[in-house]
């Protein structure tokens, strides 16, 4: 087993950039899967690649891993170029750990042998390292089990330990929670985040689940049709999306049309603060949680009520016919369909555009 020395202590100055993707393009017959993708992941950071299915996020992950050859562009790990047009460092020399969708544990090997798979076979520290990483993922004492004796969540934990044990430069997680049920998923997400941070590990997580990306990642790169359209922290992304598509992909949002007058957009629900440079007419995008019930607010008709337990989403229609939604934090009473309520918008709109 030979490996290029790719670990930290790199010679270049950009010590803090663990993964650098520049202008990467990749096409399959009939599809431009990656269309000039740029992405930076800083050392110790957990970045989520978020996008709808078919947006190219998995292709990007597989290109970083070395399972796919890129057509053009550049991928560098810790300052060392691993892929260029015509250059392709094979996966086994890249030092990337992978946690696949369904774990992909080696079914013929015990848990300990799975975790130790990437470690030198005769290393004296091997057993201790296996034990250390099993403990890290909360599976101390499970080393003698066979993979089929574990639950789905446990298998994913072993897959994480297996990927981390050799001390990779970067860990790639390919929708690692998608095969688990809801309760387990939340628990495992928190654990994975804790483990990655404890190890100061750099990680790239592919997901199509917005709430997963928002709750786990330090930063999120949103992909659409083979491009990264915005990279930002979860909070930034949610409250300042780059465009309406990103805004609606991350959660519900509704347009409120109005007239621009004196730095304000006058909508049928009241004035909203907006910047300059707009024409006489504009529209603003707001999230349901910005809409609150207020007895002295603008009258609105409740068109439907969807109760979700922790909150409820009300469908509303304003007097001029504008549709809107209101997220109601947990309360003991809910308005009924057909009832009239008063509403108001708080905070700044996500986006404002002329028209």
């Amino acid at each position: 087993m030979t490996r290029a020395p790719l670990t930290t202590g790199s010679t270049t100055g950009s010590m803090t950039t663990a993964l650098q993707v520049r202008g990467v393009r990749k096409s399959f017959p009939g599809v431009q899967a990656l269309d000039s993708v740029d992405l930076d992941v800083r050392a110790g950071e957990l970045v989520a690649l978020l996008g709808p299915s078919g947006c190219g996020k998995t292709t990007l992950l597989r290109s970083v891993a070395g399972f796919e050859r890129i057509d053009s562009g550049r991928i560098a790990l810790n300052g060392h170029v691993v892929a260029l047009e015509g250059l392709h460092l094979p996966t086994h020399r890249r030092e990337v750990g992978i946690v696949p969708q369904e774990g992909a544990l080696f079914p013929h090997l015990r848990v300990a042998e799975n975790v130790g798979f990437g470690l030198a076979r005769r290393s004296p520290a091997r057993a201790a390292r296996i034990e250390e990483f099993l403990e890290l993922v909360g599976l101390a004492g499970y080393g003698r089990r066979m993979p089929h004796e574990l639950s789905g969540g446990q298998q994913q934990r072993v897959a994480l330990a297996r990927a981390l044990a050799p001390g990779p430069a970067l860990v790639l997680l390919d929708e690692p929670f998608s095969a688990l049920d809801a309760g387990l998923r939340t628990e495992l997400r928190a654990d994975v985040r804790r483990v990655l941070h404890e190890q100061n590990m750099t990680a790239l997580l592919v997901t199509h689940d917005q709430s997963e990306a928002l709750s786990v990642a330090d930063r999120i790169a949103v992909m659409s049709s083979g491009r990264v359209v915005q990279t930002a922290s979860p909070l930034e992304l949610y409250s300042h999306p780059a465009d309406p598509w990103v805004a609606t992909f991350l959660g519900e949002a509704w347009w409120l049309p109005g007239r621009v007058e004196g730095g304000q957009l006058r909508t049928s629900i009241g004035p909203l603060p907006v910047g300059g440079g707009l024409g006489p007419r504009a529209r603003a995008l707001v999230r349901p949680e910005q809409v609150v019930l207020a007895s002295d607010g603008t009258p609105a008709l409740v068109t439907d009520v969807a109760f979700h337990g922790h909150d409820a989403l009300l469908g509303l229609r304003l007097a001029d016919g504008t549709p809107l939604q209101c997220r109601l934090a947990h309360s003991t009473t809910l308005p009924r369909e057909g009832e009239n309520v008063g509403v108001r918008v708080t905070g700044e709109p996500l986006l404002v555009e002329a028209g």
């Binding site: 399972f67 094979p90 996966t91 086994h92 992978i98 969708q101 080696f106 013929h108």
Partner: protein, 506 residues
């Protein structure tokens, strides 16, 4: 690469047969086959195939319905028993019937066309029975329940929903029966029925008439190909009948037969008793006499050794070639991969006598170093049984998805090391099962073994055949017993593992 090599090896006989036909020239071939004798033989062969197909379909479908869908007494036991005739190779069956014929037939002879129809039907109906029973077991009860809600009674549901649903299984089982009947050499030659396979063998090994043998073999190959094509089409139709929607299929409520329960049980019992009882009686009668014959033990041991040796060689070679082919077919669903898989399947379906004949010519004219060696015989086994092994390998490969190899590569293994340390170990049980199946099937193989064995070598199958041809029933008995025991192993797994008669909640 390896996949192409495997396919090339498997295709040698088929290609070489075409070469020989071309060499002889179409006019000569046509002159050989357009004679009254060949016409009569073609008629006889097709009549045999047709009658065996009809009989097997009737027995198989009836038995499958009775054992899986009714309250016939003893259906669970009969369910397994009725699959067991599959474990009796046709030539062994023919031997066991001929060896006790003097008990009911004054002349003591059991041969001719109708004897062949009876024997081949009794020992090939399980192909229909097993496929239909397993289709019935997997059939979704949704449509049947809807039909009942629309006013159909039990028989109406059976006629309008259940049976149409298993029609593809019936067709593919029936076509397998037709193919095996057409390919059968052992039973028809023991029962002295002049069909194509027997004529090809006789023309070559008794008459030394090479052109005649090639001409007859090519007609036989055309018939076989026609059946294969129809079988493929039927299999395609099967997909359209696949269950739609999700959720586990519900087991149907068994159909109450009422006063018909006893006749139903009697029918099941009779088929099982006749098909299994005759071989059993025959072995009981002759086995002791056979093994106590002077020198018989040594001879059996020698034949056993020869069978084991050449079958093992065949199994190892077959699996070695099946690994690249099966992996390729499972991983790469390109037209080339699918085409290779099909081509190999076609040679598998050609009668053993054609494969044997073609390899004899190949040995004499092209690879003389191999002629009269066990290697040529092992090559015949590769050709005949490669699909069995490559299907097993392909199934095993599906147990080892590419993500495993990718995980191993990300942990620092080269692709080749990942194949060795991850993929192959995961596939090992499946590969082992494929090897065992090829090994057991090769032990039973008769026509190619007869044509290709080195002079002086006798296997279990050839000994049985030679002794039976001279009516030395006692001497043949030990071989028959061993061959049945060998064939019983995979049959047992097939019958109990098909899921048709599994434990259920009733």
């Amino acid at each position: 690469m390896g996949a192409l090599l495997a396919a090339a090896v498997a295709l040698i006989p088929a290609v070489y047969l075409v070469v020989r036909v071309a060499e002889a020239g179409l006019p000569r071939i046509l002159a050989e086959v357009t004679t009254p004798r060949v016409a009569a033989m073609a008629g006889r062969t097709l009549a045999l195939v047709g009658l065996v197909w009809l009989g097997s379909t009737i027995f198989g479908v009836t038995a499958a319905l009775l054992t899986t869908r009714t309250d016939a007494p003893g259906r669970r036991v009969f369910g397994v028993l009725l699959a067991l005739p599959l474990a009796v190779p046709s030539y062994v069956a023919a031997y066991t019937w001929a060896a006790v014929a003097d008990l009911w037939e004054p002349s003591g002879r059991f041969d001719g066309f109708w004897a062949a129809v009876l024997v081949l039907t009794l020992y090939s109906y399980p192909y229909v029975y097993l496929t239909v029973a397993s289709a019935l077991a997997g059939q979704d009860q949704g449509p049947a329940e809807v039909a009942r809600s629309l006013g159909e009674g039990e028989w109406g549901v059976l006629r309008r929903v259940t049976l149409p649903g298993v029609l593809p299984a019936m067709a593919s089982g029936g076509l397998l029966v037709a193919l095996y009947t057409l390919s059968d050499f052992g039973a028809v030659s023991i029962l002295r029925v002049d069909t194509f396979t027997r004529a090809v063998f006789t023309a070559f090994s008794v008459g030394f008439d090479r052109t005649g043998a090639v001409a007859l073999a090519s007609v036989l190959a055309v018939f076989a190909l026609a059946i294969i094509v129809v079988e493929r089409l039927a299999r395609g139709a099967e997909k359209r009948y696949a269950r739609v929607g999700s959720g586990g299929p519900r087991r149907p409520r068994p159909l109450g037969l009422g006063w018909g329960r006893l006749p139903a049980a009697a029918f099941l019992g009779l088929v099982a008793a006749v098909a299994l009882g005759v071989p059993l009686a025959s072995l009981l009668r002759w086995f002791l006499a056979g093994v106590s014959r002077p020198g018989s033990i040594g001879e059996v041991v020698a034949a056993m050794g020869a069978s084991l040796g050449v079958s093992l060689l065949g199994a190892v070679l077959t699996v070695a070639l099946a690994i690249p082919l099966g992996l390729y077919a499972a991983r790469v669903r390109t037209p080339l991969a699918l085409g290779l898989e099909r081509l190999v399947f076609v040679t598998h379906s050609l009668p053993g006598v054609i494969i044997g004949l073609s390899l004899v010519f190949f040995g004499i004219n092209v690879a003389y170093a191999l002629y009269q060696s066990v290697w040529l015989l092992a090559l015949a086994y590769v050709t005949l049984f490669l699909p069995l092994a490559s299907a097993a390998v392909a199934n095993a490969a599906r147990q080892a998805p590419p993500s495993l190899e990718e995980a191993a590569e990300s942990l620092g293994l080269t692709p080749f090391a990942a194949l060795l340390r991850v993929t192959l170990p995961v596939m090992l049980p499946g590969i082992g099962a494929g090897a065992a199946l090829v090994f057991l099937t090769a032990m039973k193989e008769l026509p190619a073994t007869l044509l290709l064995r080195p002079t002086g070598m006798d296997t279990l199958a050839t000994r049985l055949w030679t002794y039976t041809s001279v009516e030395a029933y006692a001497a043949a008995a030990p071989y028959a017993a061993i061959l049945i025991a060998l064939a019983a192993v995979p049959t047992w797994f097939l019958a109990t593992g098909s899921g048709a008669f599994g434990r259920d909640d009733s």
